[in-house]
């Protein structure tokens, strides 16, 4: 069922300013921050994800909704943190060593955030050492790695190998994505899961957290 | 953006492809041509086109 609320509407229409105003107003009316996230924002992003998977929405549709979501989230996040509300999971995200492409990685970050995850974005050209440091410092449930090029995708393997060496591989689930990434490649390098699009990335992150998902299309998840 | 420019102050250049400063504009700066104006025009336009090539290739090729 489609929620009926101006925040949901602002997210669907991608109106960042409306999303900001509604959030401020609704909070002033005494609505709990978590209820705004769970009842309107997550359903709106999940709706966008479903439409994208169905070929009805395109990346720009996701981006404009993500922008509205981020505007509202900027107001809500400090409140959620103060209330010690747990996210769906903490994800450390980065484009791997040698690769400076970030459009896909940023979209994945926004979709994850919009679906209730906490995202720590390490940026681009991220060395294995930086990923390892982030695992130790931030204690994420998931490490997400991105690469656009076949010439840089093996940095994902180098990073996983370095994580094994450093003894932190088993502390996290490793998910990979990007245009050249295949299920076979994910298996070969010892990743836990993969997807080649931002909506699939949310699905596989949910699987990593043991949450239910509606569709596994375009998603690889390692089975024991 | 660090460089906010008042667009009214921008030098006016031609809208035609291949041209930065049209010959007609240059001609107004020259008091009189006693020789063949076509020679002057051709050389002006050929070299002007190099400036055009420069900026458009910066955009398209590099």
């Amino acid at each position: 069922m489609t929620p009926s609320h101006p925040l949901y509407d602002a997210m669907i229409s991608g109106d960042a300013e409306a999303a900001r105003c509604v959030t401020v107003r609704t909070l002033a009316e005494g609505v709990a921050p978590l209820s705004l996230v769970n009842d309107y924002m997550i359903p709106a992003m999940e709706d966008a994800g479903k439409r994208f998977a169905a070929g009805e929405y395109f990346v720009p549709d996701l981006l404009i909704r993500a922008r509205a979501m981020k505007t509202a989230m900027a107001i809500l996040r400090p409140l959620l943190v103060a209330a010690q509300i747990k996210s769906a999971g903490r994800v450390v995200l980065g484009t791997v060593n040698g690769d400076v492409h970030d459009i896909g990685k940023n979209l994945v970050g926004a979709m994850l955030e919009g679906c209730g995850f906490e995202v720590v974005d390490l940026g681009v050209n991220v060395s294995p050492e930086k990923f390892i440091a982030a695992i130790n410092e931030r204690n994420p449930h998931i490490v997400g790695m991105s690469a656009l090029l076949t010439s840089t995708m093996y940095s994902m393997k180098t990073t996983i190998d370095a994580m094994v060496q450093a003894g932190v591989r088993d502390k996290v689930k490793v998910l990979i994505g990007g245009a050249p990434v295949t299920r076979q490649f994910a298996q070969e390098i010892g990743a836990d899961g993969s997807s080649n699009n931002a909506v699939g990335a949310v699905a596989v992150a949910k699987m990593a957290m043991g949450l239910q998902i509606e569709s596994t299309a375009g998603v690889y998840w390692r089975t024991a | 953006m660090e460089q906010n420019i008042n667009k009214n102050e921008l030098p006016q250049v031609a809208k035609l492809p291949g041209v930065c400063i049209p010959w007609e504009e240059k001609l107004r700066e020259i008091p009189e041509i006693s020789g063949d104006p076509q020679i002057a025009k051709k050389v002006w336009e050929d070299v002007d086109a190099l400036g055009y090539t420069y900026v458009w290739h910066c955009l398209v090729s590099f």
């Binding site: 991608g14 994208f52 070929g55 929405y57 395109f58 990346v59 720009p60 549709d61 981006l63 404009i64 922008r67 060593n97 040698g98 690769d99 400076v100 492409h101 970030d102 459009i103 940023n106 050209n125 090029l149 076949t150 010439s151 840089t152 093996y154 245009a179 050249p180 295949t182 490649f185 699009n197 | 953006m1 460089q3 420019i5 008042n6 667009k7 102050e9 921008l10 030098p11 006016q12 250049v13 031609a14 809208k15 492809p17 291949g18 041209v19 930065c20 190099l50 055009y52 090539t53 420069y54 900026v55 458009w56 290739h57 910066c58 955009l59 398209v60 090729s61 590099f62």
Partner: protein, 407 residues
């Protein structure tokens, strides 16, 4: 290749090979059936790896990049190559101080290919309120607004002239001239040293791609398509005649090899069908038609997935384009537009780089049997080949194409 001719000099041999290869390549591009399938691999950083150079070396020194491409052309029996598919030369980009490059050995490791670094939405080189100035006079906009923003050295209009500003134009202009002259020599050397055809001549970008790549950024463009689609359309219309001019100014005077359009952002899922149909295609199609009217083909280097737009491309006159397959299904593309246009590529880079020679042969056999059966096919990878491409696989792929690709 025909049987070696007895007592033939090297120069005669190369001249003969050149003629044979040009005929083969052009025949296939015109959707005809030559003596065998022409091979035209777009080797970029692969050439560096094969010739023993790092990515840093070929990006910083175009003579090394040229030498690497010529070595590949001489050692592999290919019909056509590009003189330097790495194409960016840091001598030029550093002279101008261009900010958008990830340079090997500086911004990325020395053996990773150069990349474009897209600024964040708020730091885009063109902002939403710049549309009117771009639309009014694109050339003036580039010189006066864009260049000072993309360059670390060019001074904005109205600010004091600087030493670095003056030098950037002098060095940038002369560097570009040097490089283009070098490319001209490279085309000749490919012909005389190994009888290899220079595969393409002239560059085109779709107006909306250029807007996304170098002006607004992809994310900025997405916001504009939502908030100010009319400005986007008008900007594309304003850019179009200039992009046509640039393309034609580099075209092959002999009208043999095509102008190449490097297409990326119009595909699925980067813009919606609506925006493709209302902006991307209507502002690109007239350019391609005019190029064809002037007697040149356009190579559609269709990066990504364009299968949903094949009907639009089929509106173009027969033979006006060569359609290059990246992530599309090459078999489906052939079914849909193979009767109108020649097709190139469609051999996945992941297979070529990391597959076994046997797997490559099997896949190419399938492509040759179904897509290339009646001619009109040029063998190439899906995307340009970087240094992940294996030399062994390159040999296996080339040999198989020659053996099995004979008509």
């Amino acid at each position: 290749m025909t049987d070696p001719v007895q007592n033939e000099t090297v120069s005669d041999r190369n001249s003969r090979l050149y003629d044979e290869r040009l005929r083969r390549y052009v025949t296939a591009m015109r959707n005809g059936k030559p003596d065998r399938i022409p091979m035209r691999p777009f080797v970029a950083e692969f050439a560096a790896k094969y010739a023993g150079y790092t990515c840093q070396e070929v990006t910083h020194d175009y003579e090394k990049a040229f030498a690497a491409a010529r070595k590949c052309a001489a050692d592999f029996d290919w019909d056509a190559v590009v003189g330097n598919m790495v194409y960016v030369w840091t001598g030029l980009t550093q002279a101008i101080g261009l900010k958008y490059y990830g340079v090997p050995g500086i911004d990325v490791p020395p053996d990773t290919g150069f990349q474009y670094h897209e600024p964040s939405e708020e730091n885009a080189f063109m902002q939403p309120d710049d549309y009117d100035a771009l639309i009014a006079d694109p050339t003036a906009f580039l010189f006066n607004v864009w260049l000072p923003r993309v360059s670390s050295d060019v001074a904005p209009i109205g600010s004091p002239a600087t030493y670095r500003n003056n030098l950037s134009f002098l060095k940038g202009g002369m560097a570009m001239w040097n490089y283009f002259m070098g490319f001209g020599r490279q085309v000749d050397l490919l012909r005389t040293e190994s009888g290899t055809v220079h595969a393409i001549s002239g560059i085109l970008k779709a107006p909306m791609d250029i807007l996304a790549d170098k002006l607004r950024g992809y994310v900025g463009l997405c916001m504009d398509l939502h908030e100010r689609p009319e400005k986007v359309r008008k900007a594309c219309e304003a850019l179009a005649p200039h992009l046509l001019h640039v393309a034609l100014s580099g075209a092959d005077p002999q009208k043999n090899v095509p102008i190449t359009i490097w297409m990326h952002r119009g595909c699925v899922p980067f813009v919606s069908y609506k925006h493709f149909n209302e902006i991307y295609w209507p502002t690109l199609k007239p350019i391609v038609l005019e190029i064809w009217r002037r007697g040149h083909q356009t190579l559609f280097y269709a990066e990504g997935k364009w299968g949903a737009h094949l009907d639009a491309f089929a509106e173009l006159p027969d033979g006006s384009i060569i359609y290059h397959v990246d992530q599309d299904d090459v078999f489906e593309v052939h079914k849909k537009i193979g009767h109108k246009f020649a097709i190139s590529g469609g051999i996945p880079n992941v297979l070529l780089s990391f597959g076994k020679p046997k797997e490559i042969r099997e896949y190419c056999k399938k492509v040759i049997d179904s897509v290339a059966r009646d001619g009109g096919y040029i063998m190439d990878a899906s995307a340009i080949m970087q240094n992940d491409m294996s030399v062994e696989n390159m040999r296996a792929w080339t040999e198989f194409t020659h053996e099995y690709g004979v008509y």
